[in-house]
């Protein structure tokens, strides 16, 4: 799967969980840029992404994420396994 496809699909997940219809994510987006992206919604996003992409992420992998771009790369890597 291409990184840009993953980004678009993640964007839809974020919009749904955070209830932000106009949210536009970029690879550089971090939680600092999106007020609604907090510890509770973070878990919901991770679980929704796991379900959507049919992958399982470890806590270590999740904690190492710095931005949305990292999340896209991780999804790409796990989807390929």
């Amino acid at each position: 799967m291409e990184l840009n496809d993953i980004l678009q699909q993640l964007n839809e997940i974020f919009k749904d969980i955070l209830d932000l219809d106009t949210l536009v994510l970029t690879p550089e987006t971090t939680a600092r840029d999106v007020e609604e992206w907090d510890s509770l919604s973070h878990i919901q996003i991770i679980v929704a992404a796991e379900k959507h992409f049919k992958i399982r992420l470890t806590a270590q992998e999740i904690q190492a994420l710095e931005n949305v771009g990292d999340m896209c790369k991780l999804v790409q890597k796990k989807s390929a396994q």
Binding site: D38, S39, L40, I43, Q44, V47, A59, I62
Partner: protein
């Protein structure tokens, strides 16, 4: 915001911006009394850290390690709908008997006492209600002292003649509580409470966040009922849906906790529940957000004692 709280918040914001958002909301909602209490506590805690050649940054690191553990457990809980362990021996080996893990866990919990809204609310409920019992309590037992904050407050509130006993299964926890409280009046006992055999002698038993750490919480409550004097009081707290490295008994909702209390032969004198996230009760139930339950109990008279 005082300097120590400011420092703690800024450090957490730098290292864990997602978590810092929750803290920011918590801190914005607290009143002046909170800041007075938090300031006094953090000053004492900072002195304690310095005496032990540690800094507040060490404590913040412990807190974030504890949070990282909780994130891992929460993800696992989201996958399985269960806590990762259900056996006491498993968590005893992994946590209570592991000094390194216990150290960061206890320091993390100490900070959470004033950083997590529901922890502070439980503390507030306890110290606001305990004076009601000030003249009646002669023999106080705390099960699972953790860091010792609650019993140190009980010593301030209750009669100077009151006897204080702590029973805890973790040597690290007992050492930390002993050093943090610096109070010669407490008799510390290293034991599993289920192996502790005293009957009808305690007129107050405090057991904060212990039921979720045992395989059979009903058995523990029944044991407390035996240890309690006929007119004695129990203060109990426990959370629903709270995955953690040492939680083994899962309460899925507050009704399950209340039912257990009744089954063990107690009546609820007063109770409170506190949401651990800033959401409505309806949303909390939908998302399985943890709810902290706290109650003061008495023996139910209709039961044969």
């Amino acid at each position: 915001m005082n300097n120590l709280i400011q420092h703690i918040f800024e450090k957490i914001e730098e290292l864990s911006p997602i978590h810092a958002k929750k803290l920011k909301k918590n801190l914005a909602g607290f009143d002046d009394l909170y800041y007075e209490r938090a300031n006094a506590f953090l000053h004492k805690y900072n002195q304690f850290l310095m005496k032990n050649d540690k800094t507040m940054d060490y404590a913040i690191d412990c807190y974030l390690k504890m949070n990282a553990d909780m994130l891992a457990e929460t993800i696992d809980f989201a996958h399985t709908g269960k806590y990762s362990s259900s056996k006491f021996e498993e968590v005893n080996k992994r946590v209570y008997a592991n000094p390194e893990t216990m150290a960061y866990y206890m320091h993390g919990l100490l900070l959470s006492q004033f950083l997590w809204k529901h922890h502070y609310q439980v503390y507030d409920y306890y110290i606001n209600t305990l004076p009601t019992y000030a003249t009646q309590v002669k023999n106080y037992l705390e099960i699972g002292a953790g860091h010792g904050l609650f019993i140190s407050k009980a010593i301030e509130i209750l009669d100077p003649q009151t006897r204080f006993t702590v029973v805890d299964v973790s040597p690290t926890s007992i050492d930390l509580a002993k050093n943090f409280i610096e109070e010669g009046r407490i008799h510390f006992i290293l034991s599993d409470i289920l192996d502790f055999s005293e009957e009808s002698c305690y007129d107050f038993v405090s057991m904060g966040e212990v039921l979720e750490h045992v395989e059979e919480p009903l058995q523990l409550l029944e044991k407390i009922r035996i240890m309690l004097t006929p007119e004695g009081t129990v203060f109990v707290t426990t959370p629903t849906n709270a995955p953690s490295i040492d939680h083994i008994y899962l309460f899925r909702n507050v009704k399950e906790i209340q039912a257990l209390i009744h089954e063990a032969g107690f009546e609820i004198v007063s109770e409170q529940h506190f949401l651990t996230e800033d959401v409505s009760l309806e949303r909390a139930e939908k998302l399985n957000v943890s709810i902290m339950y706290g109650a003061f109990l008495k023996k139910r008279k209709t039961n044969i004692s």
